[in-house]
Amino acid sequence: MVRYFIKKLITLVVLLLLVSITVFSVLYVLPGDPAQIILGLNATEETLANLRAELGLDRSFWVQYLGWIGDILSGKGSWSINYDMPVYDLILSRLAVTGPLALMAMLIGIVISVPLGIYAARHQNRPGDMIVMFFTQLGLATPEFWLGILLILLFAVKLGLFSAGGFPGWSVDVWGSLKALLLPAFALGVIRASILTRLTRSSMLDVLREDYVRTARAKGLRERSVVYVHALKNALVPVLTILGLQLGQLLAGAIIIENVYYLPGLGRLVFQAIGQRDLPVVREIVLFMAAAVIIVNFLVDMAYASIDPRIRLE
């Protein structure tokens, strides 16, 4: 287990390093001069040069990169041109929206999909299974922004149970904030649940055909323990993979759904920052998004090991 952990940890660090270099160099070669953006089109050549020197833009690529990565590692980070505040604080304040949103969406997705997938697998080709397959097909074909709009129409406009969008902020109104995240989380969760249900079903179907499931039945175990202990533990491994990918993506910001619900999340931040050519913000958020995916996958790898001894004891 320790060896596996260390191996995965080294992979994690190397990956993060490569990602940081890629992100930095892509934005480095991109046209557009940050000094020009800050000072506007009427700035003189001299003031531009001064600002470039101040921002360190006149130095070589590697010096700039090392300076940037040093700032990030030391916890200083860069400074947003547009918001005039540390990018770190900006990300943290937006993560307070996107983080809970992603977790709620995943939770909804899991609660719906795992029991439904198991049910469908156990009733393969019978009416219950067909109904599940029909609705998951529908879920796969539904764009999440459209489902988001439908939910607003129903719960906010017609029934008046929820507000149609916006976010009061955790420090202002905890319950109201939670409520504001519920509809978008549901829209995201239901769509993700469609894939996860189908995956759980097919994985469970494979496992239920395994010899060891027959052995478990031959021992006289209750059907419940056969399915939920002997089969499920084996069936979860592929489900976990997709779950990790989905969570990583959601943490990186659900750009569309945040726009539908006017949520001040990471997705909206990066969307606006690109429009405003706020390079330090874009750079750090892209790095953060990539890091979120990599770190969640690292956690998934650890979860694999806790489920499957063949990985753990390798």
Binding site: D211, Y212, K219, G220, R222, V229, P309
Partner: protein
Amino acid sequence: MEENLLEIEDLSVHFHTPEGIGRAVDHVSLSIAKGETLGLVGESGCGKSVTSLSILGLIPSPPGRIHSGHIYFDGKDLRSMGENALRHVRGRDISMIFQEPMTSLNPVLPIGRQVAEPLMVHHRISRQAALEEAVQWLNRVKIPAPEKRLHEYPHQLSGGMRQRVMIAMAMVCRPRLLIADEPTTALDVSIQSQILSLMEGLRHETGMSLLLITHDLGVVAQMAKRVVVMYAGQVVEVAGLQDLFERPFHPYTQGLLKSIPRLGSRAAGKKERLKEIKGTVPSLLDPVSGCKFADRCPRVFDVCRERQPELEAIRDGQQARCWKTQFSERSGRYA
């Protein structure tokens, strides 16, 4: 005559497939006495595994379904039992071990737990007590350092060790009938005889009955006193071990015996080619009006293709499903 522990009467199992109904088991009857070892022999696909799985109601359904027949265990009809009552028979009165020890153990659960599980379910004892008994059983099936093995996983054991674990798991509740479905087929030859003598020892000790399913006549010769031969879902011959080897009646049984390589046949100057049975098993989907073996039979004559023979007695303890029973070669050795 001893009392029969298991009696299968006229069992038919059908598989409903898009291509039609497959008659995997076709009116099979057999019985096992208390303490007896019965060998069930036949090539793959002849229905021997399906027969054994239907005893405990374990045929995959759908597509499989027991169409008709009775299975009596100790006088009780297992087929009329509810799922819950049958569950209490499984692993307690009747246990099974399977061919593939690699895939028959759950890869993500520790061995100790898997061996202890039947005890926890059927005897309702605590996990701790069950694990202690599991250690004793692992010891009895000669697994070295059983306390240490409890926490190991199947992939850490060799094939032979895994089959020992399977046997321990099947034995913990001291079943009265052990069904072993090709228990040694996946193992090295050197391990095979160890596993067989282990099972034989346990049978002797506990007085249980053993249903040994195999395609290997060598295994049968070593273990069984009585043998049932199946072909294409039907019982074609029932015989005592000695009769089976010395005067097999059914042409299929004779073919099976001829297809065993014999050591020294070359040295004896005979230089015989190994005989195989020509042709393949008929599809279980097509209804055959005559004898199912007719197309491959070296002794086939007209009536074989027209009507199906019944299982007829030849001598005490030997029966065969062949038209020859009605005609010339009724007595004497068939060459």
